[in-house]
Homo-oligomer: 291 residues x 4
């Protein structure tokens, strides 16, 4: 039920709540295009931005492949500067057209917008030769442009909300898994020991995680009979235990879908709760319930 | 509900909608056998075709095993030509007996039918010596004969429809996974670097996919302590997140199976609720329900 | 519903249907002990048999460990002969006390009973020196004694029935997976080729199975960029598709548990079906339904 | 239903049932702080204890990393002794303030409390040189301090109870998996043999577990064609069978969540059905329902 009655505003991704829409003039027109999606121009702007973000991410990825950089260093550089200029212009436009620029600049997407252009400008200012490695890493911050996508695709918000509903249970579950990883990792550290690659408890815990999540790289495997026996037990445990988060999420989704949840309706007479949405009389005292 | 009320035509796999059934004569008889499954001859033809397809696929597979080809090159060649002649005859028969041959030829199964015989004929025309590799690859197109099976086993259609219902949600989910793969792959590229095998961002993304899906080949593993820590986090993430698509599909299947979306319909006589959407009379007192 | 109304006989594991219980005398007493579990002696016999089976399986397993055989060859031999004599005695007793020995001997458990003692006797008759390897393999048939356990633990029967209910759907699902393995395996055979270990289509299909089921041994991994891209796609596919059988089984179990299934009740007037268990009037024509 | 009606005491983690609360005086005050969480002091004590446990576990883990021990041996030693003194003081305080010290000392958490301090004291008494290895292992017993956490986080109790509800079914399931591992491991031992690494049945069973749980280390892989075929079959089996425990847990959780077992109760006045088991008045007309 709750799901259906949340105000639309909650899921509308194009309503940054409190940056302030100017009252009139050019700034209001730009605001409408950049921040809203109700007009045709606003929708076109959004689609264009998603395309530019995806292209820019592709350039960042290609930038890391030695063989591509060898052949296409020039065009990649040109593209990167084009994107940086575009995103910088967008950032400045956003800053200019809102009534509370600082509020925008310190919001999550304001920071992302800044972080995704800064590295390129920074690389221009600082001589690369002296700090090559750090710059290279800094430039990879541009990858965070991908987060700008989430603002334009509201299914992400829905999925996020669905997960948050089961979030606490999943956290509890993960902490139980962590305890199993700690205990069983320590046991394996004792059983196998440094000579078989289990050089420390953190290393053994890494192995236990690799095993219990059924990833199984094989870079570290038990070599003793007892170790193999414990490992087999852990695999079965991890494999079976995977059922738990699945059960949690599925139960959540099934009940949302079937739309069957005790409501918050309270009987005015006996104060009992948990009445069905369509109940007309209190099931506990027979008093009429208000709609 | 929708499930039950879809017109039968929708799930009848033997009704290629618009190729045109001839009015009478031999063509009509052949059409009945090849395209329909209502007659005994039509059913026998279908069973025979499934058997020939499976045998022909087996020959294509064996054709790729060096030790088998060494011993059985002759019989495999004979079998392949037999199958090619059979499928060619079937293709020509299909083309001849429909009223709109072009419409059939350009349909999905028309293209598959052509593609599965062409390579063998092509290999006859072009001297193999000059283009050995390309021919070998082309011949493997024959493997697509397997798709012809889907036409004869209508459970595939049902399963496909069930998946399509959850398809959009699964796509959204996969795009979120892709974002996680991109971000975490980039982070690992920075942390581990080319000296530990993470030679580029695409490579690191390949590793992130291998890890998050719990495949874990082990051809690329984190070597630094920080890298191992991030990898452990990713494994737990990917393992727990697997619950999401399972939840989506299960919720879909459960609600289809239980066929139960509570309605607000109330019986005008006994005021009972919980009637099925298509019920015409109250299940409790037999009074007519209004639509 | 169906679940609840199945006659008890169907799930009673101790009722081998048609071997024939003798009318009186010693044979009847032995039959009661060996085949039934209603008496105290019968229950003790069952518990003893389970223990002997588990011990005997342990001996077979230890028999394969070189280091154990080196030290304990004598005691293992003695134990094995003890178990063989016990099982032989049991087999003969079963044969003697039923009215239709042949019917028992040719039943599933009759064959298992024979197969689990024969190898040891056979090893006595044939000089081991001449056929060492075959005998060793034959002796491992004794491992099938484990199947005798299933007769005594009726939860196995229940689980089996639950799986059978979803069996057809799972089979269809597996055949779709096989098709994906075939197509994608062939594609990888073309892309990677024998020089990267994909020596034949069966080998590539083995790799595709290892990848799609998220096992990921790592004995065969893609080496080309395109191959890695296709492999990543397959991992995500296999990982997401795992949701399907889970959805099938869960939907089955949830609906069994919630006991909510359209019944076979038919309206005497309009012959419609699918009425709820507690409906009193036909939802389609309003006619009273008989209980 | 049962879930809701369990007495609160059952889930209250701070009520060690029968150690005996002193009647008055200092002992009663200490008891209130250490064993209960109703007072502000008691809650502060609990939070502090959780923090100390987590820190102490971190020290144990760091103690196993050679590079860390090399640099920080002194501070780690000091911290470890601080924690040991704190936990010893806590243990003695617990012993002193309960009315039945022995009952506490022999309870699960009493043993854990003792085991987590003993090793450090023991290391002081015994000269390390003579029994280095054993001491090192003994000291790792301190890791069990993590179990003390479970007493303070009652979600663990809830999760545990939810799992226990499906526990028997999961056990049955695991025993079926073990049977498959035994049979298929033995088959692979025969097919691959010692020359391909399957040196004994236990080794082959270890491999079968690694494969069926989709861990797939790759330290042991099938080398023969037949072996690869059987392995592929096992992977698909294990992958599909994973659906079973998920189905069990999910069905359990869904039904708990929906809390809905349709009853046959009918309202004597309006004849409506579908009332919850504990409803006392008809939700549709407010008439009293008979039990």
């Amino acid at each position: 039920m709750t799901e259906q009655t949340t105000p639309a505003a909650d899921i509308a991704p194009h309503t940054p709540p409190a940056f302030g829409k100017p009252d009139s003039g050019l700034r209001r027109r730009v605001y409408t295009i950049i921040f809203e999606a109700d007009t045709s121009a606003g929708r076109h702007f959004d689609v264009l931005l998603v395309a530019v973000i995806l292209l820019s991410i592709t350039v960042v990825i290609l930038d890391s492949v030695p063989s591509v950089v060898g052949r296409l260093e020039k065009p990649l550089n040109v593209l990167e500067w084009t994107f940086t200029l575009l995103f910088t212009a967008e950032y400045i436009a956003r800053l200019c057209c809102v009534r509370h620029p600082w509020r925008y600049a310190s919001s999550f997407f304001g920071v992302i917008d800044l972080v995704s252009v800064l590295p390129t400008w920074f690389a221009l200012l600082v001589p690369e030769a002296s700090a090559f490695l750090d710059i290279r890493i800094l430039r990879l911050l541009r990858i965070f442009r991908i987060f700008k996508l989430t603002l334009y695709i509201d299914e992400y918000l829905r999925l996020g909300r669905a997960l948050r509903a089961s979030g606490r249970k999943i956290l509890i579950f993960l902490s139980v898994v962590m305890m199993a990883v700690l205990i069983l990792g320590t046991v394996m550290y004792v059983v196998e020991g440094p000579k078989n690659g289990f050089t420390s408890i953190p290393m053994a815990m890494y192995w236990a995680t690799v095993t219990m999540t059924t990833v199984g790289y094989g870079d570290l495997t038990p070599q003793t009979t007892l170790g193999r026996f414990i490992a087999s037990f852990m695999m079965l445990l991890g494999w079976g235990v995977l059922a738990v988060p699945t059960g949690i999420v599925t139960a959540e989704m099934t009940s949302q879908r079937m739309n069957w949840k005790p409501t918050n309706r309270t009987c005015p007479s006996c104060l009992s709760e948990g009445h069905e949405p369509e109940a007309k009389y209190c099931k506990d005292c027979g008093e009429a319930l208000s709609a």
